[in-house]
């Protein structure tokens, strides 16, 4: 019901939205909750377990009652709080967790079975017969559990993340937060003021307080106006600070587009990481409900929420409102309602010394003990101190058990709040979040005056810490009423009294938990699920603790509290994961030949963030194998071109590079001659192979190292580690030049012929023997030429500055094609190297050492190097080790697969008999056979032996002969041309 003359909604801007398909009238500035209450729609949701009717209970993000679904189709957004969702024309909302409808929900039958569904009942049943758990019980439980539903479709909305920095972050823009921001802003500090509401002012907008002679709402509006005129102040509405992290980092969720229809490029949400030198938590407090029988009916709300709907939205949540309280504050609700012309049925105050009513009846010393009304509240029963009971017809009960300061953020870094007996609640413990102070209601100071004073004082302290000069703030006058209350957690009596309205946890459940020895507060929480619902116990935790304390005969402080953990409000995965959807999870790296490869029809595959061509299909080829076989033959018989730019290239310069390389490689590099290249093996300090590659000496003090594609980053980091942490005495400078050079393998018997048409100065075997390297020019452009070979053919790698990469690749391929060759991809590259027994990370997979791969001789005995000592541990050498071998099929089945296991020919393929495994396989068109590289226990001593390869997954068993891993040209004649 709308109340004229009240509220901040724009009565000149009516609009309509839908709830469960029905049109609802509203005004700009309404939330879905205020609009539904205005339309007298009380039942909005169903509870989690018993599917009891639920309505609006609170007025902010903590509301445990009215969870709805917004939108439909792919944008469907479940579990949205109706109290937070602002209305706009065309907004579509729906109830959830009900079937077939909110009104007729079949699962509300659960409510009748409640005696059997108490806390933890499921731990004691559903165990027989065993197979029924997964086939029957669990599927039924899962279907009835959950609240809202995801659409199941890819999220279509845009989200973003951002960083912000400030001197002072003020969390909450109620009187304390506004005063803090004003104080700091006027002093010139960089201030960020965040508030989760669409309008700043906090409780001032829901109350009829006066500040400095004006209404609280006006004072807040003026403060905001002053702040928004300051360049050094950033005001962030609709922004909830969600967590406090180390060194002054805060997470904050900004709801950018939820109140807009039609977003375009506007993000729906932005997740902020705010770095603040100091912060002031002015998060306010949350009024706590009271547990009494059937206290969960729609229409039963917190007293402050009723005031908010009245004063902020101009809505009376009922026509005949009853107040139930243990404190003075709740009487404001009655006064505000009466002043607005809404009928107050009475105030039921548990205190004998409660204040008298001002135009309403006060039932002193009484307590509400039951309610009636199936889908909305119709009446409450209350009990006088003498045990007499009476009933009031009422459609709205405004209850207040006192206030809980929102201490959550002060606990995010493991701080524990302190029990305060005066206000019967927890208050923040000082210093639990470095750099943060608390002010106002969240600090247990409930009067407006105290909020203003603490806000100002908090800002002054922060400014002092930061060395920013200020003038002391003049505090405007404001009410400073004392906060008086009497403990009231749960009204004694039969029936179910709700603590956690969402998860349906009742006083009985907590008592049962205590009886079953779940006496620790953590055990109780976990056993009953108390506080584990979407509101994370914001409404219920303190009352539940009090009930547990009572049941276990302890005080509340010694009962302790569960931990508040981030986020303060639920945060969408899309917001925290913004930017990653699609291809944004990691950068994409493209070689200079990418376009030419794609143009040639090559499928591109991912390799260490790069994309590399798998194969280059020629006309008429239908399978990758056909292309691969052709490309291998091409390299073996003519010439092939392959982009190898993705391999890491590290430029090392300085007088001590030789010594440095001797320390990082197992073999010697200081003895390498200028103009020569050498293969190197690099170990981790634990003796396992880290990486391999060739390193060329371009000058006396100048080397360029090649790493594998995947290890380029880790090797760079490792080299810097070795230099800075172990040998800073060495004068070495290193830099990645991977990106500088476009480098192409030119491999095959015709490779020199191909190059000699391109290089400005022709080369021959004498000027450019195997493993030679040096500078060359191509059309006057400086490049580098290395005579190295991964394929085992007479081959080169030619490098030019990347800007020429695309052009050179096309040129090389064109020339190769003219000579009967062409481009080759990763598949052919793999076959070529397997034929030669060259290893990749399939073999040096982080568990193999130099001994295993047959390179023990490469670990120089003349010097120390990283990993040498540990590689000599007894367990890393000897017959027990699986050693690199080659495999060739010898039986009817000719296929070898990677990831298969090896067994002695007559053994069963079971774990106990495992002898090794295959790492790399390929079909060699050169040798017309499948070839495999494998690790086999004591393998080097078993060449010639017949073994069994078993691939259970692919259903393949192949008899293989063990051989040397170098299948082709073992003498290496071909590389020397």
């Amino acid at each position: 019901m709308r109340v004229n003359g009240k509220g901040l909604v724009d009565r000149s801007a009516p609009l309509s939205f839908t709830f469960d398909g029905k049109s609802v009238e509203a005004y700009a500035g309404d939330t879905v909750a205020s609009a539904l209450l205005a339309a007298e729609i009380k039942m909005i949701a169903r509870s989690f377990k018993y599917h009891r009717p639920r309505g609006v209970i609170g007025a902010g993000s903590e509301d445990p009652g009215a969870l709805i679904t917004v939108g439909s189709g792919a944008v469907q957004d479940p579990n949205v709080r109706a109290t937070v969702q602002e209305v706009y024309a065309g907004l579509e909302t729906r109830s959830q967790n009900c079937w077939p409808s909110l009104n007729v929900d079949l699962l509300s039958l659960n409510d009748l079975a409640a005696p059997f569904l108490g806390a933890g009942f499921y731990y004691k049943t559903f165990m027989w017969p065993k197979a029924f758990w997964e086939k029957l019980y669990e599927p039924v439980i899962r279907r009835s559990a959950g609240i809202g539903a995801l659409s199941g479709k890819h999220n279509p909305d845009t989200y973003e993340k951002a960083f912000a920095f400030c001197d002072l972050l003020v969390i909450g823009a109620g009187p304390a937060g506004l005063m803090a921001a004003l104080t700091a802003g006027r002093a010139g500090a960089e201030v960020i003021l965040c508030d989760e509401d669409s309008v700043m002012g906090g409780r001032l907008n829901g109350e009829t307080y006066e500040i400095g002679g004006q209404s609280g709402q006006d004072w807040a509006a003026r403060a905001v106006a002053e702040l928004s005129a300051m360049d050094n102040v950033r005001l962030m509405t609709r922004t909830t600070v969600t967590g406090a992290y180390d060194q002054g980092t805060y997470g904050a969720l900004e709801r950018v587009g939820h109140h807009l229809g039609g977003l375009g490029d506007t993000p729906l949400e932005c997740f902020w990481r705010i770095v603040a030198k100091r912060s002031i938590l002015a998060a306010g407090a949350i009024e706590r409900p009271v547990a009494f029988r059937n206290n969960d009916r729609p229409g039963i709300m917190t007293a402050s929420a009723v005031r908010t709907y009245l004063n902020r939205y101009g809505v009376a949540p009922g026509k005949k409102v009853t107040i139930f309280a243990n404190n003075d504050d709740a009487h404001r609700t009655a006064r505000d309602l009466v002043a607005a012309g809404v009928h107050v049925a009475g105030v039921i105050d548990t205190r004998q010394d409660a204040p008298d009513g001002e135009g309403y009846e006060v039932y002193k010393g009484a307590e509400v003990c039951n309610s009636e009304g199936r889908k909305a509240l119709e009446a409450v029963t209350f009990r006088y101190p003498d045990g007499r009971e009476d009933k009031l017809q009422t459609d709205c009960l405004a209850m207040s058990g006192g206030w809980n300061p929102s201490v959550h953020m002060t606990c995010h870094m493991n701080g524990r709040p302190t029990w305060n007996e005066d206000i019967l609640s927890f208050v923040p413990t000082d210093g639990t979040v470095p750099g943060m102070v608390t002010a106002g209601a969240c600090n247990g100071a409930f009067s407006t005056h105290a909020a203003l004073a603490q806000g100002a004082a908090g800002a002054e302290a922060a400014l002092g810490d930061l060395g920013i000069k200020m003038t002391k703030a003049d505090l405007p006058e404001a009410e400073d009423a004392p906060y008086r209350l009497k403990p009231l957690w749960a009204v004694a009596g039969k029936g179910r009294a709700w603590l956690d309205f969402q998860n349906d946890v009742t006083v009985k459940d907590v008592k049962l938990a205590a009886a079953e020895n779940f006496r620790s507060v953590e055990h109780m929480k976990r056993y009953t699920t108390q506080g584990m619902a979407p509101d994370q116990g914001k409404n219920s935790n303190v009352a539940a603790l009090a009930v547990l304390a009572d049941a276990t005969g302890r005080g509340i402080p010694e009962t302790g509290t569960t931990t508040f953990r981030p986020p303060y409000v639920p945060v969408s995965i899309a917001a925290l994961g913004a930017g990653a959807q699609g291809d944004g999870f990691a950068p994409q790296r493209f070689t200079t030949s990418h376009k030419a490869s794609v143009d040639a029809g090559a499928p591109m595959i991912e390799a260490g963030l790069w994309y590399r061509p798998s194969y280059f299909p020629a006309p008429g080829e239908r399978t990758w194998r056909q292309s691969c076989d052709r490309e291998v033959n091409m390299v073996r018989n003519a010439v092939g071109i392959c982009d190898v730019s993705t391999l890491g290239k590290i430029d090392l310069q300085g007088p001590d590079v030789g010594e440095f390389l001797d320390f990082v490689y197992t073999n010697m590099f200081s003895t390498l001659k200028v103009g020569k290249t050498r293969y190197g093996l690099m170990l981790r300090e634990d003796g396992t192979v880290m990486d391999d590659g060739t390193t060329a000496r371009l000058g006396e003090n100048h080397f360029v190292m090649t790493t594998t594609t995947a290890a380029a980053g880790p090797v760079m980091r490792h080299l810097e580690y070795v230099h800075q942490c172990l040998r800073p005495d060495l004068d070495v400078s290193m830099i990645s030049v991977t990106e500088q050079w476009a480098q192409f393998a030119v491999a095959g018997p015709k490779s020199r012929e191909l190059l000699n048409g391109l290089l400005d100065v022709e080369i021959d075997d004498a000027s450019w023997p195997f493993m030679a390297c040096g500078e060359v020019t191509l059309q006057g452009i400086k490049g580098r030429l290395f005579r190295i070979s991964f394929s085992g053919e007479h081959a080169y790698e030619v490098a030019v500055p990347s800007r020429y990469g695309d052009s050179l690749f096309r040129l090389l391929v064109a020339r190769a094609e003219a000579m009967g060759g062409g481009a080759y991809g990763m598949e052919a590259l793999n076959v070529l190297r397997i034929e030669k027994g060259h290893i990749t990370h399939a073999e040096i997979h982080g568990r193999t050492n130099a001994f295993d791969i047959g390179f023990a001789r490469m670990v120089s005995a003349k010097k120390d190097c990283i990993g040498k000592t540990m590689s000599e541990r007894p367990g890393l050498v000897g017959e027990e080790r699986a050693q690199l071998v080659g495999l060739k099929p010898v039986g009817v089945v000719q296929q070898i697969t990677a990831g298969a296991h090896l067994f002695n020919a007559d053994d069963d393929p079971v774990r106990e008999n495992e002898q090794g495994y295959t790492t790399s396989v390929g079909f060699s068109p050169t040798l017309e056979s499948y070839l495999g590289l494998a690790f086999l226990r004591n393998g080097r001593a078993r060449h010639g032996e017949e073994i069994k390869m078993v691939d259970h997954l692919r259903g393949i068993t192949t008899r293989c002969v063990v051989c040397d891993p170098v299948f082709f040209d073992p003498e290496g004649g071909r590389v020397r041309g």
């Binding site: 059997f116 108490g118 009942f121 731990y123 004691k124 559903f126 165990m127 065993k130 758990w133 669990e138 439980i141 559990a145 959950g146 609240i147 809202g148 539903a149 659409s151 479709k153 999220n155 909305d157 992290y245 180390d246 870094m413 009985k508 049962l512 009886a515 020895n517 779940f518 006496r519 620790s520 953590e522 055990h523 953990r565 986020p567 639920p570 969408s572 995965i573 899309a574 925290l576 994961g577 990653a580 959807q581 944004g584 999870f585 595959i605 634990d686 997979h845 982080g846 568990r847 541990r873 007894p874 367990g875 890393l876 990677a898 990831g899 296991h901 774990r911 495994y917 259970h952 997954l953």
Partner: protein
Amino acid sequence: MRFSSWKVFTEGLSGNKGWSAHWRDAQPKSEYDYIIIGGGGHGLSTAYYLAKNHGITNVAVLEKGYLGGGNVGRNTTIVRANYFLQGNSEFYSHSLKLWETLEEDLNYNVMHSQRGLINLFHSDGQRDAFARRGNMMINQGDDAILLDREGVRKELPYLDFEQTRFPIYGGLFHKRGGTARHDAVAWGYARGASDRGVDLIQNCEVTGIDIVDGVVKGVQTTRGPIKGNKVAIIVAGRSGQVAAMAGRRLPIESHVLQAFVTEGLKPVIDHVISFGMGHFYMSQSDKGGLVFGGDLDFYASYASRGNLPMKEHVMEAGMTLMPMIGKAKVLRSWGGIMDMTPDGSPIIDKMEGIDGLYIDCGWNYGGFKAVPASGWCMAHLMATDTPHDVAAKYRLDRFRTGIGIMDEEGTGSQHNLH
């Protein structure tokens, strides 16, 4: 008291007045035969199997906080047996078999649910590595199926198959993999151990280990000294501090691992899904929350809480893999303290040189699924002084000798990389 549907029914009819404590709160005696330091999953299961398998019941479990308050109460509840190295393979296989009869054994519904685990791979190289793993699982007698892209699509149609950064090539499907209700595992073992006579002592912090001439004599605690002939350290992330009481350094660095849960949602994810390129895994709990996690925060920590960069990384992985979860809202995030070893595999061993002192630690972030077999094998070791067959490779000296290192990740002796 025996739990059953009938019992729930009759209690329901009579006002649920007849339920009693799931376990006794014991006061510490001055002496026990066996003392277990740590009332987490592994400590409780060790106590249970000492009593059940070996008839040893003069046992105290000393817990500095509340039972099951460590990693068993703060993990992502995944149960699987998909290891590929000798040593791990047989151990986790044994553990999974114990899971499969755990409810009957404990008379406690731990909601073990074999929903199936799919490990996605994104390149040929990863497929081969998963093939090796899957083949070993079958060698061991467990189950594995290699799915291609279409096979994955059939099971998980909602993944983003158009994404080209790390396209989905296929997955290794382990049907017997799944989840369980983590707290219930601790409570079920506690109840079983307590019923058999084990004393479970909460709020009892061990402050010293008494060792005389290389022989354990007992422990000092915040509730007084307790004598014992055999003492086991089973304290996960706190292993370093407790071992230091015995003058030992361990090959362990403690790290924070974060986990996340969303608000309750209607069923949308049936399996446990693991995204190889993103270190992301997710399942949906019976309550409807999406339960997920990723990598360590990567810095040594005892804070049981993490920071934003890893939270963001995990969510980013989720969004690139399965953007349909975008509007699920994270309700809570938390952290556990992981006892990371240099090869990512655990230790179940005697403490060499100290008679009567045993250690069970180094579970990295895979300790939950190990709870049954860890207790089974640790109880065996303590009772018989010989290692159980399936845990014989979990030796403490393997790092010194290099014999039997089990590095499933292949990342070597950097503790946080496993």
